[in-house]
């Protein structure tokens, strides 16, 4: 059973959801980019999930009402895409890839390590609502296996049990790991180079 532990619901889960004025403005701006309102279903579900931590049926209803679309449509879309959380999850959702290249490179060992460390099985949330552990299908980081994604955001690559422990400590202390710019291997030498992958 997943514990309610999303960003703003840890203690008092709200019974109703609403978008802020800024979010409604953002949604209006999104609508202008497409010829039909329905096209913003996915982007608005993202706004909702980033804001409420999940898109349970109540949130789906809010999205439908905001966009003047049938609830059944929004529900159908939310159910189709794996990244939308249809129920509240832990504060941090750990998606460990165990697909092809990660499967060959120790992804399953990372899952077992996390299960032991967190005292839960894959698909479960810790009692304190901090972590949900999930197995993910290919996340497109095959060369940097094994890896995991943290709450639909940053990728952490080249995982070892020690690195996993560090990441957990970091998340518990309230910070998130930085974006890892993978150095590009050069074909003409044994060196690698950073070509400035970050924006700033």
């Amino acid at each position: 059973m997943a514990k309610k532990g999303s960003k703003n619901t840890a203690t008092n889960p709200p019974t109703s959801y609403s978008f802020t004025k800024e979010q409604l403005k953002e949604i209006e701006a999104l609508k202008a980019k497409y010829p039909e309102v329905q096209a913003v279903t996915l982007p608005v579900l993202w706004i909702a999930q980033d804001s409420f931590g999940h898109v349970n049926p109540d949130v789906q209803a809010l999205v439908a009402k905001t966009l003047d679309l049938p609830e059944s449509h929004v529900h159908g879309v939310a159910e189709f895409y794996t990244q939308y959380f249809k129920e509240p999850k832990g504060k941090h959702v750990l998606d460990v890839c165990t697909c092809l290249s990660c499967g060959l490179s120790g992804g399953v060992d990372i899952v077992r390590h996390l299960e032991k460390k967190l005292g839960i099985n894959v698909g479960e949330t810790t009692a304190d609502g901090q972590f949900t552990l999930q197995e993910a299908e290919c996340l497109g980081a095959c060369g940097y296996a094994p890896m995991m994604q943290i709450t639909n955001d940053v990728y952490v690559n080249h995982l070892t049990p020690e690195k996993v422990d560090k990441v957990l400590d970091q998340l518990i202390s309230g910070s998130t790991p930085d974006f890892e710019s993978i150095a590009m291997p050069l074909v003409d030498s044994t060196h690698t180079t950073k070509r400035g992958g970050s924006n700033e």
């Binding site: 189709f80 895409y81 794996t82 697909c99 490179s105 299908e137 290919c138 296996a145 590009m184 180079t193």
Partner: protein, 429 residues
Amino acid sequence: MSDWKSYEPTLIPNIEGMHQLDTYRKHGGYEALHSVLHDSKKWPDPSSVVQEVKDANIRGRGGAGFNAGLKWSFMPPADGGPRYLACNGDESEPGTFKDRKIFEYNPFLFIEGATIAAYAMSITTIYVYIRGEYRSWIKKMEKAVSDAYDAGLLGKNIMGSTFSVDLVLHSGAGAYICGEETSLLESLEGKRGYPRVKPPFPAQRGLWGRPTTINNIETLSNVPGVIRNGATWFKSIGAETHPGPILYGISGHVNRPGVYELPSGMPVMTLIEEVAQGVKDGKKLKAIIPGGSSTPILPAKDLENLTMDADALRGAGSMMGTAGMVVMDEDTDIVETLWRISKFYHHESCGQCTPCREGTGWLEKILEKVVKGEGTSRDLDLLLDITSQMEGRTICALADAAAWPVRYTISRFREEFEARCKPSLVPVG
């Protein structure tokens, strides 16, 4: 291909700060678009651009390998109504992790390529569909797109010309099937990603019923080079029938996995032994999956003299796919690896067509039984039978993508599967 070490990358060149607009422009960036928009001698009309790209024979880098310029030429004449370019950055085929390198290291190359494509096909809006998991890279692209708008390289009257086009980034939300081009269109329209029946093809009826072309990110990133240096230059790179640079994504049991830009037609063994510096821990090579999980596995004995281009790989009994090569060492459990692949396709089947929805489930279930040592050799024949009930019987190619690995892995490594099975108590037949 002994001179691969001196190859100069053009998609992800070794230039510090290339992801910044001023650096990109300093190194010739946007010269191609400028020439297309302003050099009316060289480019008298949009169709001359289509012709050049067609001549270059940029074969689609998303896996299908279709000539991009030829695809562009399928767009009907402009009628004043909206027309769309959908850029496919869904990149979800296991073993594939190349387009994110362009987003990170050379985003303006892709944006320039998409803008040239938009001009060539009289596109009114470009939608760039990026898989939702790539949030970090979507943020990088947001910055690049905003910089391009600020510099007058997107939006109204681009580079002072009469040409205008908008570019919209669109995030997916976790669905492999949305990399299938018509599923991508459904997803862009805000629906469940169910592939469409073809015909009508997207060039006739695409996004919101309007003419639409769908191209892969890497494919479009090759366009500025073709415009700047000409189709002849492009065709001089790599394999004759599949020319140009390729982003090879090498993963699995190698010492130096990663994305490498090299000419097409690289010898497989050079990629493994020299570029990726050999199989890890000094082990022997067992097999490779050459271009993403759906492309048939090739045992090590078939790799000598094999090159990475569509024709050579077809001859060897596989496919080029996305050039995402997965390398497996001698200790690899082939049975378990195939089960993982089947699990993936079962998870990702959209459920629209029965042969795929049911077939992928049965493939996974039966393979799980075999992995656990509970299968029989009859199960292997049953697996092969299921694949023949799936291939070619569905709206899109996901069923084929799920069936091929099963068919070819079992036929090429049958003894390993047999060794895992209990003897059949009932005779087959």
